[in-house]
Amino acid sequence: MAAISIRNLVKRYGNLTVVPDLSLEIADQEFVVFVGPSGCGKSTLLRIIAGLEPITSGELLIGDKRVNGVPAAQRDIAMVFQDYALYPHMRVYDNMAFALELRGMPKPEIDARVRQAAAMLHIEAYLDRKPKELSGGQRQRVAMGRAIVRNPQVFLFDEPLSNLDAKLRAQVRAEIKSLSLQLRTTMVFVTHDQIEAMTMADRIVVLQNGIVQQYDTPEMVYERPANQFVAGFIGSPTMNFFPVELRDDVAAFAHDGTPVPLDAAARARLKGAAGKGVLGVRPEHFDVVASGATSAIAVVIRLVEPLGSDTLIHFEVAGTSAIARVDPSMKPKVGERLLMLPQPDKIHLFDAASGQVLR
C-alpha cells in the first residue's frame, strides 16, 4: 500500500506534448479513476505510473520512493490490461504463478497464494485451463488474480472492462469495487466510461488534453462540475447547454431572446461575466409544469426514448437540441407541447469564453 505523487509531470512524444504539466496526489488505499475522452492522456499517465513509458520531465513517487527511472518490475505495482494480456500458452495457474516464480518464491507459498486468489475470484475450477478456453469475464478475473497474487503496493487498471458486454461489465465493475474494499490497496483505474468512474471511484480525475480538469469525489464532479467540459463529460445523457445573456437585467436565450426563467442569484452570476454565459441543465433537472406557469419554456417533443425506469424526451430550445428525463407514467408523445422549467437550485452557469463555472 502506498500513496502516489505526481509532480509537474511532462510527457512528450517527439514534438507532440501529451501531458503538458500535471500534478496529482493519490492517497494511500484510495481508488482513483482517470476518466476522459480518447487521446486525453489517461492511459499514458497510467503507463507512466506502471513504468511502461518514460517521463519527459517531472517527478513520480510511489510511497516515499522516487521511481522516475525505476523499471516496471521494481515498482511493486500490478497492472490489469485492457486485453487482459494473459500468457496464452500458459495455464491459468501458471499465468498467476509466473511473477512469483520469477521472484524465486518457494513453490508451496506460490501455490497457497494462487489458490487463495483463485478462491477470492471464484476461478478455482479454471486453474488448469488455458486462456482460450475461458470466457471474457473469466479471463478478466484471471487477469485480476494475476495482479492480486503479487500483493502489490498499487493496482493499475487500463480500461479492463471495455471488452466485456454490458451485463458482464456491470457485474465485474461491482466485483472490482468490492475487491478494492477487501484489499484496501491503492488503485488507479482508467476508463472512458463515466458510469464506471462514478460507481467505483473514491475520487475522479477528469482529463482533457493531458490537463486535469477536475479532481474530486464523484458527487462533487457530478453536482459541481468545475467547467463546461466536465459538466458535459460526466452524466448520461449529457448536460444540455444553452447560450444565455442578460438583456435589461432579464435573462434570455442568446439565440432568439426568449426569456429564461433564472432567479436573481443566477442573474447576478451572469452579470459578473459581462452578462453572457452558458446555461447548463442536466436532463433530470427539468420539471414539466402545468400550462398556467408563465415563466416556463414551451417546447415541442421531437423524439421519445422510453428506457423503462424513465423516459427521455428530445426537443429544441432556442435553436439548440435538448434532452429531458421524465417519469414514464407521463407517456409523452412526439409532437406534444410541454412547458419545461429548469430546477433553479440545480442549474449550472459557465463562462461563455473560458467554459469555467460562474460562481
Partner: protein, 295 residues
C-alpha cells in the same frame, strides 16, 4: 412473389457447382493424380534396355530393401535434412529477432537480408562453387588469412554434407526468418508489457514467452523447409552430383541417377515413391505437432 425463372433447383445448382469446379478438378487430375498414379504403376514394372516393360510386382521394393546405396542415400538425406533444418531454424530465429528489434533499419537493408532465397539455385550453386574452390576460392583465402588450415569443402567426404548444409542455410535461413518475423509481429504487445511488470528478464521473456508463442509459426517453417530439404536436389547436383564418391548421394540424387543415367525407370519410381512417403510422414507428424503447440 418468387420469380419462377430465377428459382435455382437443386439439379441446376449441382450442374453449376460441377461446371465451376471442373477446371480445378481436371487440373488436379492431370498435374497431380495422373503423375502420381503413373509413378506407382512404373514402380511395379521393370524396363529393359530396349524399352520392354515387364510387371515385377513388389520386386523393385524388395530390391530397394537389399540396396546398400538406398540405405546410404537415406542416411545422407536425413543427415543433411537435420543439420540444415537445425542451422536454418537457429539462424532464422536469430535473424528474425534482429530484424524485429531493429525497427529503424531501412527497408533496403531488410530486403538485402532476405534476398538469398530469391536467387535461382543454379546461380547460388555456381557462386558457391567459386567461393569454395580449394585453390582459388574466397573461403580458403579467409581461413588462411585467419591463420586456419584450408579445407577441401565440397571435395571432402567428411565436410561435403556440412558444406552443402551451410550453402542451403545461407539461402534459406532468411526465408525462415521472414516466416518467424511475421509470427513475431503478430504477437500481442501487451503480453510483453505484462512480462515486463512481472519482472521477466530479456532472456526469460524469450525463453518463457516468445519461443512458446512462436512455436506454431516455427513448426510451419519446419514443415515448409522439411518438404524442400527432403527433396533437396538442385544445389547438390550443381556442386557435387552426389560426390565425392557417394558422400552427398541423397535419395533424390540417387533416384535421378538410377532413372536418367542408368535408365532404370521402374526402380527409380520405387525410390521416389519411398521418398514421397517419407516426406508425407514427416509433414503429417509436424502437422500434428503444430496442433499440439497451438495456443
Amino acid at each position: 412473389m418468387v420469380d419462377a425463372a430465377n428459382t435455382v433447383t437443386p439439379d441446376r445448382q449441382r450442374v453449376e457447382l460441377a461446371a465451376l469446379s471442373a477446371p480445378a478438378v481436371l487440373f488436379t487430375l492431370a498435374m497431380i493424380a495422373f503423375p502420381l498414379a503413373y509413378t506407382v504403376w512404373l514402380g511395379f514394372h521393370a524396363f529393359s534396355s530396349t524399352g520392354r516393360q515387364s510387371f515385377t510386382g513388389l520386386g523393385n521394393y524388395s530390391k530397394l530393401i537389399a540396396d546398400t546405396e538406398f540405405w546410404h542415400g537415406l542416411w545422407v538425406t536425413l543427415a543433411l535434412y537435420l543439420l540444415s533444418l537445425v542451422l536454418q531454424l537457429v539462424l532464422g530465429i536469430w535473424l528474425a529477432m534482429l530484424l524485429f528489434n531493429a525497427k529503424r533499419l531501412p527497408g533496403i537493408v531488410r530486403s538485402l537480408f532476405i534476398s538469398p532465397f530469391m536467387m535461382p539455385p543454379v546461380v547460388a550453386g555456381l557462386m558457391w562453387l567459386v567461393i569454395l574452390d580449394p585453390s582459388l576460392g574466397a573461403a580458403n583465402y579467409i581461413l588462411q588469412a585467419a591463420g586456419l588450415p584450408p579445407s577441401d569443402w565440397l571435395a571432402s567426404p567428411i565436410w561435403v554434407i556440412p558444406t552443402i548444409a551451410l550453402i542451403d542455410t545461407w539461402q534459406w535461413a532468411p526465408y525462415v526468418a521472414l516466416i518467424v518475423l511475421g509470427g513475431l509481429q503478430s504477437l500481442p504487445a501487451s503480453v510483453y508489457e505484462a512480462a515486463q511488470i512481472d519482472g521477466a528478464s530479456a532472456f526469460t521473456t524469450f525463453r518463457r514467452i516468445t519461443l512458446p508463442l512462436l512455436l506454431p509459426t516455427i513448426v510451419t517453417a519446419v514443415i515448409l523447409r522439411s518438404v524442400d530439404l527432403l527433396r533437396f536436389f538442385d544445389i547438390i547436383y550443381i556442386t557435387t552430383q552426389g560426390g565425392p564418391g557417394n558422400a552427398s548421394n541423397t535419395l533424390n540424387i540417387y533416384g535421378f541417377r538410377v532413372g536418367f543415367e542408368f535408365f532404370n525407370i521402374g526402380y527409380a519410381s520405387a525410390l521416389m515413391l519411398t521418398l514421397t512417403v517419407i516426406v508425407f510422414g514427416v509433414v503429417l507428424a509436424f502437422n500434428r505437432l503444430r496442433g499440439a503447440v497451438a495456443w
